[in-house]
């Protein structure tokens, strides 16, 4: 890797990255507790008032997406920083703005009882049937806007750095290799390709998000300004879907970097790989329409495109990324530890999570599955067993290369505990979906309660496992810099 920049100031860089991971990890664990409370409430085990339930719902969704995106951005920044020159100042601003945004959102939700779900579907923020007031809505919307601004700053910086180093975003995706102008050997590294993809889709998402957020703010302040709700919905999902989706594309860099290192096998960039990532870029931008399959007033071609492209979006991961990971691991004599184990597991989570997603993106299925618990079923698998596991994998990796903190039996227990619990939670959601249980309901009818209780109990184990992961990472942060594994040398070289 001739383009790699020497490990200048690795230490202070690591500090920033760990800050984003700690913040992200802790928030994720906290949000899990709200998840458990909601499932217990739905299962009829505990009593939660309607207002509290929907506040939990709002904070759970917002918090999970925000925290996972924050930590994943840290991971991306860590690896991308090895190939291009990123600004530390911008990353600090990013962290600060995200923090401010989070504080505003939390105040808005808990002190002012704002509960529009994290999708803040226009015109719900302004028309709450007196459940919350203007202040709560504005705090939440401005919080999201500030959070989004933080992310936008970060992606402007990554985009700028990639263009500076590789010439253009097209070249960052390796288009000059695809067109034959450059040899495959000189293609940009995987971390750069993935970062370029995420930069493109997320800048688009954030611009759409800023527009729809400001529009909601205008509507909340002055309700006589009304907007086309369909256009608002399109923008909301263009923002929400892409932004949530991009998390896994940032986090997957961990898998790309770790598995070949552990298996001691090269995982080279091929033309197929570049094609796959270009496909992912285009599909991710367009398939948000599969959230609107039940909006019959949408142009029909857009909805059919939504289904077709959602199907196609499974191909890059099923044929290239997951398959490539399996090839690297197969009969490699790989050394399994927490980091490599979690990385491998995350690929499983991503791939199996794609299946119910594709099924639900089928219009005829969506007709009876849309807004049932099938939907959270698919994304809990995909995010909980995919993206978030990648983040934990990175935490263990960092602990290993940068400290002498050892993995214990407890960590191994946490690994299996997490996997099984997350599996159980996802399956529980899918079963509920197949039973027609609507999502985002504060109460359940008796026939729907059992899976929810089951999921809540699994959730308790999930929190235990996550706590163990985070404690390990915190121990690393305390002992940072003490030389650990031999992998460290490889990295410095």
């Amino acid at each position: 890797m001739s383009t790699a920049i020497g490990s200048k100031n690795v230490k202070s860089d690591n500090k920033l990255v760990t800050a984003s991971l700690i913040l992200g990890g802790v928030v994720i664990a906290a949000m899990m507790i709200f998840g458990i409370l909601m499932l217990f409430a739905q299962g009829g085990v505990i009593n939660v008032s309607d207002a509290a339930f929907y506040q939990f719902l709002t904070i759970h969704g917002t918090g999970m997406i925000g925290a996972a995106a924050l930590a994943a951005a840290g991971v991306m920044w860590y690896f991308l920083g090895k190939y291009v020159e990123l600004s530390k100042k911008v990353f600090i601003w990013f962290l600060a703005l995200v923090l401010v945004g989070v504080v505003l959102v939390v105040i808005g939700v808990f002190s002012f009882e704002y509960a529009s779900a994290w999708t803040f579907l226009y015109p719900l923020p302004a028309i709450s049937a007196n459940a919350w007031g203007v202040t709560g809505a504005l705090l939440y919307l401005f919080g999201m806007l500030i959070l989004g601004t933080g992310f936008l700053l970060l992606y402007i910086d990554t985009g700028r750095a990639i263009i500076k180093n590789y010439g253009s975003l097209g070249k960052g995706l390796g288009w000059d290799v695809l067109s034959g102008k450059k040899r495959v050997e000189d293609a940009p590294p995987k971390a750069v390709v993935a970062s370029t993809m995420v930069t493109i889709v997320n800048v688009t998402a954030l611009i759409a998000g800023a527009a729809v957020l400001i529009m909601n703010i205008i509507n909340v302040i002055n309700p006589s300004f009304t907007f086309d709700p369909m256009l608002a919905k399109n923008l909301t999902y263009a923002f929400g879907h892409i932004f949530a989706n991009a998390i896994i594309y940032m986090a997957v860099i961990v898998v790309y970097e770790l598995l070949p290192k552990y298996a001691k096998r090269p995982w080279a960039v091929t033309k197929l790989f570049l094609v796959a990532w270009t496909m992912s870029t285009v599909f991710t931008l367009l398939i948000y329409t599969h959230h609107m399959l039940m909006d019959f007033s949408m142009p029909k071609w857009m909805l059919i495109m939504g289904q077709a492209l959602s199907y196609a979006n499974g191909i890059p991961v099923l044929v290239v990324t997951a398959y490539g990971a399996l090839m690297v691991v197969h009969k490699s004599g790989i050394k399994w530890d927490m980091a490599s184990g979690l990385a491998f597991m995350s690929m499983l989570g991503w791939t199996i999570g794609a299946i119910p997603a594709i099924v639900d993106a089928t219009i005829v299925v969506n007709h009876v599955m849309h807004n049932t618990k099938w939907v959270p079923g698919h994304f809990h698998m995909y995010m909980g067993l995919g993206a978030v596991v990648m983040l934990f994998s990175f935490m263990y990796y960092l602990a290993k290369i940068d400290s002498n903190v050892q993995e214990t039996k407890l960590d191994k227990f946490a690994f299996w505990c997490y996997t099984i619990a997350m599996m159980a939670i996802s399956i529980q959601f899918l079963v509920s979906g197949a039973l027609s249980t609507p999502r985002r309901w504060a109460i359940h009818y008796p026939g729907w309660m059992t899976p929810a209780v089951f999921g809540a109990i699994a959730g308790v184990f999930l929190v235990i496992a996550t706590t163990i992961f985070i404690i390990h990472f915190l121990r690393y942060v305390k002992n940072r810099g003490t030389l650990g594994s031999d992998l460290h040398e490889e990295k410095a070289a």
């Binding site: 205008i218 302040i221 002055n222 006589s224």
Partner: protein, 210 residues
């Protein structure tokens, strides 16, 4: 270090300046359109209804002082209007229905004033009345023949009327609530009829009790 400090001061200063610009430019984050600013100003000024001569659908001619001692709810319309005015009047009818009939004509009057006197003669107004079941007594429709009086009234109450070149007008719409002495009490959103009715009733009741 000194440079850094100066930059921070400059940035803080510019933020404060921007804040002030918006604060004063929107009457304290209240009015973002000229329409809302107009209402805001009207509420500050509380103009009096100028004395104009009205001619109503029953061809009666009288001055506005005729209504002295009574509250009045006003709208400004023209009958050949195809979009806003019918809606405006329909909503006014809804407010009208919510006022107890013993108060109508005694304590409060409803009045729709046309700003198109050329076409809206008493006959036209009478026809128009029927669409909204206005009785012509407690809810009257009238025109102002004197051009000068008309424009002074529109000016005073901030009604902006733009001819669209095809015989129609574009204009701003609202319910105007006028007090017993002809002073403007409130300008109300014509889309929120219930709110308007409640406000009117509250004012009436307070007044009658006190």
């Amino acid at each position: 270090m000194k440079k850094k400090l100066r930059n921070i001061i400059l940035i803080s200063f510019s933020i404060v300046l921007s804040f002030c610009l918006f604060y004063f430019g929107t009457d304290g984050f209240q009015a973002y359109t000229a329409e809302s600013a107009r209402i805001y100003r009207l509420m500050e000024e509380k103009p009096f209804f100028p004395n104009v001569t009205l001619e109503d659908s029953k061809e009666r001619v009288y001055e506005f002082t005729e209504f002295e001692g009574k509250y009045a709810v006003l709208t400004f319309i023209y009958t050949s209007c195809t979009d806003v005015c019918p809606q405006l009047e329909m909503n006014l009818a809804e407010v009208y229905k919510q006022i107890p009939s013993e108060l109508l004509g005694e304590e409060i009057m409803f009045l729709s004033i046309s700003f198109d006197p050329d076409r809206d003669d008493p006959k036209t107004l009478e026809k128009y009345q029927h669409f909204f079941s206005s009785d012509g007594e407690t809810w009257r429709m009238a025109r102002i023949n004197n051009e000068e009086q008309l424009s002074s009234l529109l000016d005073e109450f901030g009604v902006i009327v733009l001819p669209d070149g095809e015989g129609g007008f574009t204009h701003n719409s609202a319910f105007y609530f006028v007090g017993r002495d002809g002073e403007l009490l409130d300008v109300m959103d014509y889309k929120k009829t219930d709110e308007a009715a409640v406000k009117i009733m509250d004012t009436l009741q307070n007044d009658m009790e006190g």
